[in-house]
């Protein structure tokens, strides 16, 4: 009975149970049902939505998505283990590159900034579990709304160049990555991820020391983090300190158990029939969300309004975004914003002048350059890779 109805979950997830049912009624929209979530202000960050404080998991409020690039202080935060780095000495910090290499390296931040070619890319960093709170039936995990993602211009060096400098040995299959974060208990496995060797050496994966022209905030991985354009943020290891070239796949909870999806195109399964075979989640699916209007927002009849949002995919770029204001009967093309590159999200906007009073259910769907489309329903046990056609209810008065 209390199961939240699809898209409402994010906006109502901070409400008490008693308020939830009433909030589903249109009359509740008029009363501003989206009660304020708890905000938190961490060092080098602005007020963000507090999911957890130890370790910090902070969601970006949607209004920041009106900017092409998410300001560093509004960039979402997600750590796995409570022992996060709070102090880094850039004079003594070293990135160790080892494993199956001819010349193990110990690189300082200065080495990275001076001995390798600097490159930059605009890339969306999106948590695999972004929008998990919208899954129905609900699933356990970080109960994110749509704000577990942010878009930034990253500057750093190619992982490929660093691996070449170390000299990768033949017959290697993966590259493993660790950061400075640790767990309170020594027996807890370190957070550790791996990339297939080909992805690691494709020249697109970066070791970034700047985002949006400034050093990374500590909570976003100072002094360096991995940037894996087009892939979910779980691979974007923060405060990167160890790179290990491997001759067999990395065996760790974070690859073998967590961050896995059903082995089918839509990452689909049902609670009654869980997929027997799962694979690591990798490339982001095509998706679009509303930034404006927000749930329950009041619009005026006969007055022009600009619907806005962002769309992304896993690296082919966005071909088209379509918006419907009539329950999906008709769809019209949204205007796409600046093209910042195929790994950036794409802003979109669509004018709308509602002619009648009432409640409206707006929908948006995106199509990627490689022809991928969004789905009308989706579920998986971990709440990953959401790419359902989103909707938002608004009141026109």
């Amino acid at each position: 009975m209390l199961a939240a109805v699809g898209g409402y979950a994010a906006a109502v997830r901070f409400l008490g149970e008693g308020e939830l049912l009433s909030s589903l009624l249109p009359s509740a929209w008029a009363e501003g049902l989206a009660s304020a979530p708890q905000m938190a202000r961490y060092p080098q960050k602005t007020d963000l939505i507090l999911l957890t404080d130890r370790p910090p998991q902070l969601e970006t409020p949607l209004r920041y998505f009106e900017s092409e690039l998410t300001p560093n202080d509004a960039f979402f935060v997600r750590w796995h283990l409570a022992g996060i780095p709070t102090s880094v000495n850039t004079r003594t910090f070293r990135l160790e590159v080892g494993g199956r290499v001819k010349n193990p390296l110990q690189l300082s931040l200065h080495d990275l900034q001076t001995k390798f070619e600097a490159v930059s890319v605009v890339a969306l960093c999106q948590c695999a579990g972004n929008s998990r709170s919208l899954f129905e039936p609900r699933v356990a995990g970080g109960q994110w709304g749509n704000g577990a993602m942010s878009n930034a211009r990253w500057k750093g060096v190619r992982l490929k160049d660093v691996l070449d400098a170390a000299g990768v040995e033949p017959a290697t299959v993966e590259v493993g990555f660790r950061g400075l974060d640790t767990a309170p208990l020594p027996q807890t496995p370190r957070f550790e991820k791996s990339l297939p060797i080909d992805r690691a050496r494709d020249g697109e994966v970066l070791i970034a020391y700047e985002m949006n022209g400034a050093p990374l905030p500590m909570l976003n991985g100072f002094p360096i983090r991995l940037v894996v354009p087009g892939w979910y943020a779980t691979y974007w290891v923060k405060s990167l300190s160890e790179i290990t070239v491997l001759d067999q796949p990395l065996k760790t909870f974070w690859m073998d158990t967590a961050y896995r999806i059903p082995n089918n195109a839509g990452a689909e399964e049902t609670p009654q029939q869980l997929s027997k075979v799962t694979v690591p989640i990798t490339r982001m699916s095509v998706r679009s969300i509303f930034v404006k209007p927000t749930l329950g927002e009041h619009l005026s009849v006969g007055r022009s309004y600009t619907i806005e949002g962002v769309a992304n995919d896993g690296g082919s770029g966005i071909r088209k975004v379509e918006v419907s204001t009539d329950e999906g009967k008709t769809w019209s093309d949204a205007k796409l914003g600046t093209d910042l590159g195929k790994y950036s999200w794409r802003q979109w906007s669509a004018p709308w002048k509602p002619t009648d009073k009432g409640t409206y259910r707006l929908q948006v769907r995106a199509i990627s350059n490689d022809g991928r489309q969004q789905v009308t329903s989706q579920w998986n046990r971990s709440g990953y890779q959401r790419d359902v056609i989103e909707h938002v209810e608004v009141v026109v008065a």
């Binding site: 009975m1 209390l2 939240a4 997830r13 149970e17 708890q38 938190a40 202000r41 961490y42 060092p43 080098q44 960050k45 602005t46 507090l50 999911l51 957890t52 404080d53 130890r54 370790p55 910090p56 560093n72 202080d73 409570a82 996060i84 709070t86 102090s87 880094v88 000495n89 850039t90 004079r91 003594t92 609900r138 356990a140 970080g142 109960q143 767990a183 309170p184 208990l185 027996q187 807890t188 496995p189 050093p215 905030p217 500590m218 909570l219 100072f222 002094p223 909870f253 158990t257």
Partner: protein, 123 residues
């Protein structure tokens, strides 16, 4: 403090340096302006966001074992789940993360989780 300033210029310089370092460290720790151009040490101090957990059976057992590694918000942000889900979550903490929780304590913790985030109709 001011009395030191009548000493030699070396003392003056040292003091100035100390104040400067202290000021920049403070700035990098508490504001968004951590430039780090002045000191190689970049430091932040994490703020506290205390949470009062809902009362329920075995709250003390929950607090003793679970809060060692993570915030209580890991639980309070969740919707209601079945006993199966909560048992699985507690088991994961033991099997994967190595939490030293005995089987009887695990049962007690599940009872607490069921009381505050169990299915609505069995509460």
């Amino acid at each position: 403090m001011r009395r030191n300033w009548v000493k030699t210029s070396i003392v003056l310089a040292t003091l100035g340096m100390a104040l400067w370092v202290s000021a920049s460290a403070q700035q990098s720790g508490s504001s968004g302006a951590a430039k780090g151009a002045t000191t190689p040490v970049h430091e932040i101090t994490l703020p506290q966001y205390p949470l009062e957990m809902p009362s329920g059976p075995n709250l003390a057992v929950f607090q003793q074992h679970c809060l060692l590694c993570h915030s209580g918000r890991y639980v309070t942000m969740q919707p209601r789940f079945s006993r199966t889900v909560w048992e699985k979550e507690v088991k994961k903490m033991v099997d994967v993360y190595g939490a030293p929780i005995t089987p009887p304590e695990q049962t007690q913790i599940v009872e607490y989780l069921m009381a505050i985030r169990g299915p609505a109709d069995t509460k």
